[in-house]
């Protein structure tokens, strides 16, 4: 029988996980939250340094003369423009231009790349590599990864890294030594804050964890589970596979599929790049004709919420974590879309959601209504389409 696996950090994370709040992520146990409430973990991301075990990410090493050609063909980005040490966020599509998965591509050297993904993609990569001089290997288990996120993350890393990170720009990567251990560090993350991801051999995992925890003690370093991360990523306007979109490989019906344009990834689709890439024809067509859907941010109007709850004599009730559910969105009495994740933003003091709206309702400033349940009754709270991300601190890219 297939069993859930432990990440290489389990010895540390399990000792700290008080509520036994475990979640499943890509076949691994990961901590949902380390404490009974997640507030402290959330605030660590925004105000201090959050240490998150992100080992379950799928990781692939792509090596060889044609490594860049393969990724140029598979992803929507212009990989040939990428310099060594650069990291691209990208989605990849089927040939109908519908998103299969998304992740990051890091150029380790001229002919070596590391691709991360939410789900297994080895067959897709192999299918695309026909006739190419390239070697694809999955390193999900052998490479452990930690995400250190928050405004204090750089200063913590600088205390323990051989070369400091002051010069490392947003979405760049360097080889480094952390507490004497060989690692690569990329300035990436899933929080929309200043943050880094540290990639290491699985056997060095505990050592790196311990060095960071010790170095971060005076800077508020806090082990953080994925529930707090889920709130932060909504604030950052970042979507998640299987929550905010369905991989075209798993969709039962056409309407469950999404294109990168529909998810607001226009900036990642390099239609000006040379040659064929998977989905090109369909994406060109969609670009030309306009997208039927678009993922946007919506802010639910607090006063409107108060009025709906006042009818039953209650103040607005807001869940303590991000809600992953489909919530209908209306204009007038007609449904024009749905929200896929909603969350209270403790920092913005706003109730926000990632929503998928039909043309033309996805334009900024459009007034919509989102379905909420007030004492078991369906109600519709007023909301407005706003720009993503909801939150973007100046230090994110500085």
């Amino acid at each position: 029988m297939e069993k859930l696996r432990y990440t290489p950090f389990h010895e540390r994370t399990s000792a700290l996980c008080q509520p036994q709040n475990w979640r499943r992520w890509a076949g691994y146990f990961v901590v949902g939250s380390y404490e009974l409430t997640i507030d402290r973990e959330y605030w660590a991301i925004r105000n201090a340094a959050a240490l998150i075990d992100v080992t379950p990410l799928m990781k692939y090493m792509i090596k060889g003369k044609d490594a860049a050609n393969l990724l140029h063909r598979v992803t929507t980005r212009d990989i040939h423009k990428m310099s060594v040490g650069q990291v691209y966020y990208t989605g990849w599509c089927d040939d109908e231009g519908k998103l299969i998965d998304d992740g990051t591509v890091a150029r380790m050297d001229e002919t070596t790349f590391r691709l991360t993904a939410a789900e297994p993609n080895i067959r897709w990569l192999m299918m695309n590599a026909v006739g190419l001089d390239v070697e694809i290997s999955e390193v999900s288990d052998s490479v452990a990864s930690l995400s250190l996120q928050g405004p204090n993350s750089r200063v913590v890393l600088n205390r323990v890294c051989e070369s400091d990170l002051d010069g490392l720009k947003y979405f760049r990567l360097i080889k480094n030594k952390l507490g004497g251990v060989e690692v690569t560090i990329s300035r990436t993350g899933y929080t929309g804050d200043l943050g880094y991801e540290i990639w290491m051999d699985a056997k060095d995992a505990i050592k790196v964890w311990d060095v960071l925890m010790e170095a971060g003690q005076d800077y508020g370093i806090t082990p953080v589970g994925i529930l707090a991360l889920d709130m932060a990523r909504v604030e950052a306007g970042l979507f998640m596979l299987d929550v905010d979109y369905t991989s075209s490989g798993h969709a039962w019906i056409e309407s469950q599929k999404s294109s990168p344009f529909e998810l607001g990834l226009d900036w990642t689709v390099a239609l000006d790049k040379p040659g064929y890439f998977v989905g090109r024809k369909a994406l060109e067509k969609e670009k030309h004709e306009g997208s039927a859907w678009k993922m946007v941010g919506i802010e639910i109007d607090w006063v409107g919420m108060e009025q709906l709850y006042a009818e039953v004599g209650l103040p607005p009730q807001i869940p303590g974590t991000a809600i992953r559910a489909s919530m209908p969105i209306l204009v007038g009495n007609v449904q024009v879309g749905y929200a896929s994740t909603a969350s209270w933003s403790p920092l913005l003091k706003k109730y926000i959601a990632l929503a998928h709206l039909q043309k033309p309702y996805y334009e900024l400033g459009t007034d919509v209504r989102m379905e909420i349940t007030v004492e078991h009754q369906r109600k519709h709270a007023p909301a407005k389409v706003v720009k993503l991300p909801f939150y973007e601190p100046e230090w994110k890219k500085k």
């Binding site: 040939d95 299918m127 026909v130 064929y276 998977v278 090109r280 024809k281």
Partner: protein
């Protein structure tokens, strides 16, 4: 750089048929042929003094509408009007003869079974109807399932259904049932004698890598019968090459160009539109449309390149089963070979045919092969099944596509060429004792020769096996059954598309219906 309306890759019968139709429409057409002669599989070649043979196919007839539309008679095409008998060799020399005259056939069958003899005429009537159905099906452009089909494709299918219905309920069902059947089951519904059954069933596996117990050989029996118009070959006066010579002459007289010795190295693709071709010589030629009469594997994986194609499409093309297992052995004799005129088969029993095929399953050469033999004066031409293209080296299993595997295939075929010749001659000599002493010269063509000389991937005459999962709307691959390709302005017209397989020209004619 020269520019054409249409470039056609390959001057085989299908490529030339398409070229002639286009030239007739006033299009500026260029046919590019890698060999120094036109004809593809439909060639008559000389392998020495007085040693001129129909290299790969002993006979064939283009569809009558093609012959008429292109006025091929005026270009020297004379199809042999006298059909010759089909003879199944028997150890006692009392051969089973399917004569052109059905009454004589009935007499010959009587020796084996009165019942079978009585069924011969009804069987001929049924096969006539089956042939009509296959002809209509082959003339219908298949819808691109499972992508759903538009109204015009639906109409074509509806017409096909209507044709089938018009045959009457009983025959319609019998034809539909016959498609997935084995050739053995198919003939078993009509005949009881093993000798009679085997002779007819052999047509169901001719040119294919399947045995008579293989599902779908009922269909291929009808398919091959339809192409030949019966059991025996229809030979062409002066050699089968006259067909493609006449076509080439028609192309030229209509203003089309044909260049031989002009091998296409690749098809130039800009994003997903083809722009032209690059020849081995480095010369570039552009065209609005390109039609490839080469097999789909070669066209997509070599000429276009996997990098320019969607991954699922590439996966499907890689999965096309080629698996050639036909070899040809041509013998020049002093004339005393003793073999009667006609289409002569070594197919003594159903079991014999299935066991001959077993060799192909295990990547070997049949020790007791199914042979189809034709003669032309002193020349004896033997069609040999089964000699697997991918021979088992006995050393280790290799992925067929790997470079090492293809080198090994070359080495093995250099060793085994003589073995195929020996088995072919020994097998036939059991029936014709004078054969061996009559041989003056010989020329064999292995499946590897079929690939290297005639450009047939894995030596497959049909550009992809005609099997249930590779026929009709699944030919060459599911979703791309209408001659179109993921590359805009690139079309297919060879045997690998629906309508293809055999010397009919149907695929070359059909592509005209979808060209933009």
């Amino acid at each position: 750089m020269k520019t054409y309306d249409t470039i056609i890759i390959g001057a085989g019968h299908n490529g030339l048929v398409a070229a002639a139709y286009l030239a007739k429409q006033g299009k500026k057409v260029l046919v590019l042929e890698r060999r120094d002669i036109v004809g593809g599989q439909v060639v008559t070649e000389s392998f020495g003094d007085d040693f001129t043979v129909d290299s790969l196919h002993a006979g064939g007839t283009l569809r009558p509408d093609i012959v008429k539309h292109l006025n091929l008679a005026s270009h020297g095409l004379v199809v042999d009007s006298v059909r010759k008998p089909f003879i199944s060799l028997q150890a006692d020399s009392n051969h089973l003869v399917f004569d052109v005259d059905p009454a004589k056939t009935v007499e010959s069958i009587k020796r084996y079974s009165e019942k079978d003899a009585a069924n011969w005429i009804p069987f001929l009537d049924f096969m006539k109807k089956a042939t009509q159905f296959i002809e209509t099906a082959n003339a219908t452009i298949m819808p691109r399932l499972p992508k759903g089909f538009n109204l015009s494709e639906g109409m074509a299918l509806a017409e096909l259904g209507l044709d089938l219905r018009m045959m009457g309920g009983k025959d319609m069902m019998r034809i539909v049932r016959g498609i997935p059947m084995t050739a053995d089951e198919f003939v078993d519904e009509w005949f009881e004698s093993d000798v009679v059954k085997a002779a007819i069933a052999s047509l169901g596996i001719h040119g294919l890598t399947l045995g008579v117990y293989g599902a779908g050989t009922g269909y291929t029996l009808m398919h091959n019968w339809s192409n030949r118009g019966g059991l025996s070959h229809v030979s062409v006066q002066g050699g089968i090459g006259k067909i493609t010579e006449a076509l080439a002459s028609a192309v030229k007289s209509l203003g089309g160009e044909i260049r031989t010795g002009a091998e296409v190295e690749r098809i130039q693709v800009d994003m997903y539109t083809c722009k032209g071709v690059v020849l081995k010589s480095g010369e570039e030629i552009s065209a609005k449309n390109i039609i490839s009469a080469a097999d789909p594997k070669h066209t997509f994986l070599t000429l276009v390149g996997a990098m320019n194609l969607p991954p699922e499409f590439v996966w499907n093309v890689q999965s096309i089963k080629m698996r050639g297992s036909v070899a040809k052995v041509h013998l020049l004799t002093d004339g005393k070979h003793g073999i009667p005129d006609g289409t002569v088969v070594v197919a003594p029993s159903i079991k014999y045919l299935e066991q001959a095929y077993d060799a192909a399953k295990y990547h070997q050469i049949s020790e007791k092969p199914y042979l189809e033999v034709t003669t032309s004066g002193n020349v004896v031409s033997i069609h040999f099944q089964f000699a697997a293209y991918a021979l088992n080296s006995g050393v280790q299993e290799l992925a067929p596509a790997s470079a090492t595997a293809s080198r090994r295939t070359s080495e093995l075929w250099n060793e085994k060429r003589n073995l195929v010749e020996k088995i072919a001659i020994d097998t036939l000599a059991e029936y014709f004792p004078n054969l061996k002493s009559s041989i003056v010269n010989r020329k064999s063509l292995t499946p590897l020769d079929l690939e290297q000389t005639y450009g047939l991937t894995e030596g497959d005459l049909n550009h992809g096996q005609i099997m249930l999962d590779q026929f009709m709307f699944m030919r060459p691959i599911p979703g791309w059954s209408n001659h179109k390709t993921p590359i805009d302005n690139l079309y297919l017209c060879g045997s690998g598309v629906h309508g293809g397989g055999g010397v009919s020209g149907t695929a070359g004619r059909n592509v005209m219906k979808v060209l933009k």
